[in-house]
Symmetry: C2
């Protein structure tokens, strides 16, 4: 048997959510219809409001309801440090470490096979931002994937041409990890990046 | 740092979905805002349309856009068999087995501790439906949980008072299961419900 048209349309629409497949979407749709219709109405409103009201900060390009986000507007942050990340979610992750410099948010990473070159991910805007600021160091915090590394190296080269220091976040063992479980590449990085123990 | 108000509201609203916690809701919200705004708008519309347009079949009480669902309207189905389930999702599950009788959908199961008695889950309506039909057998397909069993036994008693045959779906080993992995209760049911092999 098939679901009725409105339910089928709702199931299909729920599948755009990351990590939601057919079965999960069915469960969500029937849960909302059977048990939480007012929640579903609030969700529809929240979606509409957020899509209408949330844009991008014109300076750091993270998600923001205002022209400049509160991170760019905060006068207490360190104007000599710029952290470059692949997306807004990464800003929240880095913030939780206690980092208090400035940010620039790319639109993902370089991916020539998908047609995503420097312009597509916002590297010209990054250079404009760097030129307008007075950063002593640019921290390249793209993901430790092949594409993230390539993006970091590409940007580092451009910054070197401007005489600017670019640094890359460290690779190594995650805290709480186990040597026998971690992949060889990570362990090789951890060994190569070893440091003297400070006593 | 905290999310901006509209994003926070969207994250909170997404958490009403079953199986979606704080981290998943964050990922969903930022995914929609960064990568699929048109999908989010369509999802909002689908939610609104489904909540407005989908009600319950007045006969079997499953979800339906019309007064009577297409299962109740279908003249080719077996009017002598009634299958009682806990929710609309169960109707879809039973349909996939090839069952072609009629359905009645309860609102969950009896749960006195939560204040859910016979009226709350629609048992009076079930009895009305049984009286109006000409069923030779009522299959109680509530879940094989403590509450589902109690609900099935409660209904079976009411039906016995009317002189009607009520049956319960079989408990036993799921197909493809392994004896060493299945719980003791299931295995005990499988042993107790053993049948002669037909050669």
């Amino acid at each position: 048997m098939s679901f009725s048209p409105l339910i089928r349309h709702l199931i299909d629409s729920l599948r755009i959510l990351p990590g939601v497949g057919q079965k999960t979407a069915q469960r969500m749709a029937l849960h909302l219809l059977e048990r939480d219709r007012s929640g579903a109405v609030r969700l529809a409103q929240a979606l509409t409001q957020a899509m209408d009201g949330v844009g991008h900060c014109k300076q750091c390009r993270t998600l923001s309801e205002d022209e400049l986000c509160h991170l760019c507007l905060d006068p207490r942050r360190d104007d000599s440090l710029l952290c470059v990340v692949e997306g807004p979610m990464d800003v929240y992750a880095v913030e939780q470490t206690g980092f208090r410099g400035r940010y620039f948010v790319l639109k993902g990473h370089l991916s020539p096979l998908d047609g995503l070159g420097p312009e597509a991910i916002g590297i010209p805007e990054l250079l404009t931002r760097v030129d307008a600021g007075s950063f002593g160091e640019v921290i390249l915090a793209t993901n430790p994937t092949v594409e993230g590394e390539a993006t970091a190296h590409y940007i580092a080269q451009l910054l070197a041409n401007k005489g600017l220091v670019a640094s890359r976040i460290a690779h190594g063992m995650p805290l709480g990890g186990e040597l026998e479980l971690v992949d060889g590449g990570t362990l090789a990085h951890a060994l190569a990046g070893r440091r003297p123990i400070q006593l």
